[in-house]
């Protein structure tokens, strides 16, 4: 190209390249800032997973085994036999387009293959060619494709650009669930050792030490003691936090990030304060120190392998039932998979709150209760004293995390608790909350730093709704109940809507909780000074 000959309009105009005519063209570009690093061989080996290798998605050569196509086809056949969901979802899509603009990644990027229907077509095209008569006879007509290396790379690219949030499945007239498709796609890629580091390293850690961060038992205990000390400084009350002790009533399991990361940590302080105040008979466990389960983002077998410790630890510690902390994907596993995979939990009892006498019949089989259900019940029965004015410095909105929202329907319990522990609460617009909630853009193992651009645009719809309540209602706090949210929403908001902090529900419970014999609270659990209601009014006036 001869420089200087360009017309001004050519300089300025940049047309999208390449102008892909048909989605069947599988070319993708692996760009820094968008993709995640490949899994390292040590972690795969530790977990006995096949085809471990030193590898990056940006490499030309993916070091595939010579019979890789056969492995994929066998894997597909096997899964088509084992999952009705997979087979039915491969067969019945009519491409009506109802899902097309429901994906946060599509909304943020405009990349057509982020439309849920096309994400699924990436797999369907190969399915049709290999497993249907129509695809074999008249492939072009039904959108069938041969599997080749480019298609495989495209799978990797787009199945690690889906957060399995299930928003599209809400709008699909047949309930086709892209999360299910992505899970199958990832399982197939795993057969060739193609996974990402941010999923596999936590998996290996969790398998060995009981939590994703790889914290060993004494490190865990140290962290809990640290939190107990800090709570004593804030409230003047030294609480007990039993660890690995047998014979208590309840095993409490939270995502491990609550013990080590911020702002999760303040939620931990909230749990500890609450449990002390109501005299809950509970223990923590170093072995089951992780409620989260990255196996969900890997394969159903891996999910089961990691999840097994929860029931086995409950049995070993001889508790009556299990209480679960604030986490999104953890609750998908606990609610929809645990009992099926590792049950029946016949050695436990149907959960019953010893304080209110409420029997949690909705957890009669799984025997695990969500802490927001538990706390809502406590508040309803006036079992705790609250001073909501201690949260007056916050003006909050609530983010429904994808999994509790679309896999459980846990909407009103946290809202009830929130409205009892604080005064200033505003909902985001209707089409961005509850079952229509927008994902943080970093779920399903994508919450790492190397794909930051992808995360930012995936989280744009969520941040945009937050921006609206920030600008119109002066909201300065986004409350949520998910460890991944708590890790990934702060950077998201830092980029899109500075001035809004992120907190867990039980942090606010902890702030408002009046503890017997406590010192006057001068600060909240973060150490931020509390504005007295009276002063607050004067300030405002």
């Amino acid at each position: 190209m001869s420089q200087g000959k360009l017309k001004p309009e050519e300089l300025a105009r940049i047309t999208y390249q390449p102008p892909a005519k048909s989605w069947t063209d599988p070319t993708v570009e692996f760009r820094k800032g968008v993709i995640c690093y490949g899994a390292v061989p040590e972690t795969l080996n530790y977990l006995d997973l096949p085809h471990a290798k030193k590898w990056q998605p940006t490499d030309q050569d993916w070091k595939l085994p010579p019979d890789w196509k056969k492995i994929i086809f066998e894997g597909m056949r096997d899964r088509l036999m084992r999952f009705r969901s997979f087979k039915v979802f491969m067969d019945i899509c009519v491409r009506c387009g109802a899902c097309a603009d429901k994906c946060h990644f599509y909304i943020g990027s405009g990349d057509p293959k982020n439309m849920p229907v096309l994400r699924a077509e990436l797999l369907r095209s190969v399915y049709r060619r290999q497993f249907t008569k129509a695809g074999k006879i008249m492939g072009a007509m039904v959108g069938a494709r041969d599997l080749d290396e480019k298609v495989l790379k495209e799978w990797f690219y787009y199945f690690y650009q889906c957060t399995e949030c299930r928003r599209c499945s809400v709008f699909c007239p047949y309930g086709i669930d892209t999360a299910e498709i992505t899970m199958m796609g990832r399982e197939l890629l795993n057969l060739l050792g193609l996974s990402i580091e941010w999923i596999n390293t936590p998996l290996a850690n969790c398998f060995r030490t009981g939590n994703h961060l790889g914290i060993q038992p004494h490190g865990f205990k140290d962290s809990v003691e640290f939190a107990v000390d800090e709570l004593a400084e804030l409230t003047g009350i030294k609480v007990k936090a039993p660890i690995n002790e047998k014979g208590h009533e309840i095993l409490f399991v939270a995502p491990s990030a609550d013990y080590f990361a911020q702002p999760h940590y303040f939620t931990l302080l909230g749990y500890l304060a609450l449990f002390h105040e109501i005299g809950l008979d509970y223990t923590l466990s170093t072995f089951a120190s992780e409620g989260g389960n990255f196996g969900l983002f890997h394969s159903n077998e891996m999910m089961k392998r990691l999840n097994a410790k929860i029931y086995s630890e409950a049995k070993r510690l001889d508790v009556k039932w299990i209480l679960g902390g604030e986490c999104g994907h953890m609750w998908r596993v606990l609610h929809q998979y645990m009992d099926t995979m590792n049950g029946p939990a016949d050695f436990l009892q149907v959960p019953k709150s010893s304080l209110t006498g409420t029997v949690f019949a909705n957890a009669a089989s799984t025997k695990m209760v969500h802490i927001s259900e538990f706390t809502a019940d406590l508040i309803r029965h006036n079992k705790i004293q609250l001073d909501p004015s201690r949260n007056n410095h916050w003006n909050a909105t609530f983010h429904d995390s994808c999994n509790p929202a679309r896999c459980m329907g846990l909407f009103d319990e946290p809202r009830y608790v929130l409205q009892q522990v604080m005064k200033n609460f505003h909902e985001m617009p209707e089409d961005t909350i509850r079952e229509q909630t927008f994902c943080c853009g970093s779920g399903s193992g994508l919450g790492t730093d190397e794909n930051i651009e992808s995360r930012m645009r995936g989280g744009l719809p969520r941040a945009n709704a937050v921006k609206y309540v920030r600008d119109t209602k002066e909201v300065n706090l986004l409350v949520c109940m998910c460890a991944i949210d708590k890790a990934t929403l702060p950077p998201l908001l830092e980029y899109w809507t500075p001035g809004v902090e992120v907190a867990g529900l039980h942090e606010l419970v902890g702030n408002a909780l009046i503890m017997k014999g406590e010192n006057e609270r001068l600060t909240d659990l973060r150490g931020t000074p509390i504005t007295k209601p009276l002063e607050n009014k004067q300030d405002a006036a």
Binding site: Y16, P112, I215, Q262
Partner: protein
């Protein structure tokens, strides 16, 4: 008629054409989506485009020198900064406005006074481009800052745990090191 009045009169035509040019940087099927949907919360990119082109043209029409240039471009640049574009691609919406103005108003710029005003406006747009570049860099630096922040948090944790695990009591820790 001065230039501001001219732009005011043609505002909607300019805006339509300008938006169309900007949207050419997206895949064909996304253009419709970004353009047609007025649903603010289901289409933040389209909403930002709508909003930013409107306010920018408004500012130019009114000829307000005191308008905060950063605010004119901020939202749109933040979006472009995370959409797989090169810096040049991300910022091309300002040269595209110059192009649009020239193509739309070219035949009407016949008096010396108008062409002088046009030159001034183009200078203003050049200035805006530089401001936009600043904002783009701020956005990109923010991204790296966020990345670095995540690394720091991770290594802080690693360090804290190493301290615990390397204490006198830790055999596993010593074995590893």
């Amino acid at each position: 008629m001065n230039l501001h009045e001219l732009i005011t009169a043609r505002r909607s035509a300019i805006r339509v054409k300008w938006q169309k040019l900007i949207l050419e940087s997206y895949p064909a099927n996304a253009r419709d989506f970004f353009q047609n949907r007025k649903a603010h919360f289901q289409n933040p990119v389209g909403a930002a485009l709508e909003n930013q082109t409107a306010t920018l043209l408004e500012a130019l029409c009114l000829g307000l020198e005191s308008v905060n240039d950063q605010a004119l471009v901020e939202d749109w640049i933040k979006i472009r900064a995370v959409q797989n574009f090169t810096p040049a691609q991300a910022l091309n919406f300002i040269p595209l406005l110059k192009l649009t103005l020239r193509e739309t108003l070219g035949s009407d710029i016949h008096t010396e006074q108008l062409s002088l005003q046009m030159q001034n406006l183009e200078t203003r747009l050049d200035g805006l481009l530089l401001t936009a570049f600043d904002r783009y860099m701020v956005a990109r630096e923010k991204l790296y800052e966020i990345q670095a922040g995540e690394w720091r948090r991770q290594s802080y944790l690693a360090l804290r745990m190493k301290t615990v695990c390397n204490g006198e009591t830790s055999i596993a820790g010593e074995k590893e090191s």
